[in-house]
Amino acid sequence: MTATLLDGIVQGLQLSLLAVGITLIFGLGGVLNLAHGQFAVVGGVAAKLLLNLGVHPVLAGIGGVIGAGLFGLLVDRSLLLPAYRYRGEERLLLGLILTLGLSFVIDGYLNYAFSEFSLTLLLPIPLVQIAGIPMRTAGLTTSAIALVVFLALFVFLRWTLLGKTIRSIIENEVGAELCGIDPARTRTIIVGLAAMMAGLAGIAQGLFSSLGTEMGPEFTILGLLVAVVGGVRSLNGTLVAGVFLGIVNAFASRYIGAYVAFIILLSVAMATILLRPTGLLARFT
């Protein structure tokens, strides 16, 4: 019981890590990133390439995260520029299609160029006992990293000037611009940051089991689900939604079976959106 709960929290944190980037990019850029799962895979591929060069696994992991971040910066400064020229619904629609196209490009290229790819990172000690419950170190490591990342993000948004600018743009882009904030520059930083978090989630998948190039769409859908259940504009909401859905999934898989578990997960997500149509913790950031 406790083991399942902990397992769910670990899975949930990984989901939150994946979804927080979608929340940030949507909140700040008004673009729903449909290539977010592909960013995660890009991070994994970069880490694998570094590993193949003989780089130490920890450094390779960091390199992968940075690689994903650079890729995010590139996408923001090139592909998304046409979308940023518009506001509101038009930007959302154009962004939707552009990122969908990007996801096809990434999937198509990676599946072609790295058809045999799989990233598996093994930690030196696979299991540890915590309060008598055997826990996988992979899960603990990921959770620790995710918690640190979330903490850092909250501190950053709450107490730094850049963080405050970011929150002001999320609140009202035109208003922020009138106060002398440059939304474009801030947006680029955030897209890079969001891509780095996606890359981290991808590498975490490599720690858990293995990451393949075909997992992009699945990641995107899971990330979207978590971000929207959390309210798509609230970071706290995303964190809570990820952990909540992770726990639901762990219990459903443990007691009912993997096939029905996915249906239950989706139904719970649907029900949550219908019960709290503006997000799990509406207006709380």
Binding site: L100, V105, Y259, L266, M270
Partner: protein
């Protein structure tokens, strides 16, 4: 617009349907091209339906494949299990799709869901539908799918006749679309696609409009889904998957032009051409497809029909200028 005689108001639609009806004259001898043309007509019909749901009333349904698929599966399973005639099972299947569409629309209005929230709720339904079809193996035969060869009308087994049947259904859908858009409801649709709150304040029943649009659109999805399933000979989950229905229909609508009469037709036709163009690239086809998508959308952001209309209007203006000068 509405005081022009009916005959000249719809010349573009009539001309297009006639043009589509001439396709078998060229393609009838190569079954492959005839099949592509038939599929394109199915996607045109779906895009007309999606134009009503998303274009005019801004309801982002991402369960289009699931709507079409539920109609096809209800029809196929009922026909197979109870040996009923298609005249009974097809209406039941279509009604299932209509019911689902109305349900989503009603729930979203009731709970005040935003565009993205409705999108994700319906996307979750899409995935549930796919998993249910795979799970209820005893009825649906799982991934392999149900053979529908002898369940439908014998007409559907003849390629050219089937093509004309789909054209007839498409013409019917367009007729209903034109009729609705010229009625009071059509004015209400235009008003609420501009600004929902203003529309509501000026006395338009936005809830009713949205539900009617969703009902009509879902009916189109159900009808084409059922007929497509019967025509295809096999109803399988991949036939109605998110990638095979929702994404092409969304792209076709945006490519052709939202809230236009001919946009869905032009967009779906162009999409069929793109698919054929991309096919020879084999393993790299997904990559090429993505690049094309990005380039086309950056170039024709407002949709092809709007772009053409502007270009046409511009040249008319230039002729006027030339004759006076």
């Amino acid at each position: 617009m509405s005081n022009r005689p009916v005959s000249s108001r719809y010349t573009d639609v009539v001309a297009l349907v006639i043009l589509l009806a001439l396709v078998p004259a060229i393609a009838a001898h190569t079954p492959y091209y005839l099949r592509i043309a038939t599929l394109a007509v199915v996607y045109m019909g779906w895009t007309v339906g999606f134009n009503l749901i998303f274009g005019h009333t801004k309801q982002l349904f991402l369960c289009l494949g699931a709507l079409a698929g539920s109609a096809a599966y209800v029809t196929a399973v009922l026909s197979q299990q109870l040996q009923l005639s298609p005249w009974i099972t097809i209406p039941i299947g279509v009604a299932a799709a209509t019911g689902l569409g109305v349900l989503f629309s009603y729930v979203s209005v009731l709970r005040g869901l935003g565009v993205i929230f409705l999108g994700i709720v319906t996307l979750a339904f899409s995935l549930i539908f796919q998993n249910m079809v795979l799970g209820l193996r005893q009825f649906t035969n799982g991934e392999t799918g149900l053979v529908t060869r002898d369940l439908g009308f014998p007409l559907l087994d003849h390629p050219v006749a089937a093509y004309y049947l789909f054209i007839a259904v498409l013409a019917l859908a367009l007729l209903v679309y034109c009729f609705v858009m010229d009625s009071r409801m059509g004015f209400a649709f235009r008003a609420l696609s501009d600004d929902e709150l203003t529309a509501e304040l000026s006395g338009i029943d936005v809830t009713a409009c949205k539900i009617v649009a969703a009902a009509l659109g879902s009916t189109v999805f159900g009808l084409f889904g059922t007929l497509y399933g019967l025509y295809n000979g096999i109803v399988s989950p991949s036939l109605f998957s998110f990638v095979n229905v929702d994404i092409p229909v969304l792209i076709s609508l945006l490519l052709g032009g939202m809230r236009t009469r001919l946009g869905p037709i032009v967009g779906a036709a162009l999409f069929a051409v793109i698919e054929e163009f991309v096919r020879p690239f084999g393993q790299l086809s997904v990559l090429v497809y993505g690049v094309l998508l990005i380039v086309l959308f950056v170039a024709f952001r407002e949709g092809l029909v709007v772009m053409l209309r502007k270009a046409f209007g511009f040249s008319q203006f230039r002729e006027l200028f030339r004759s006076s000068g």
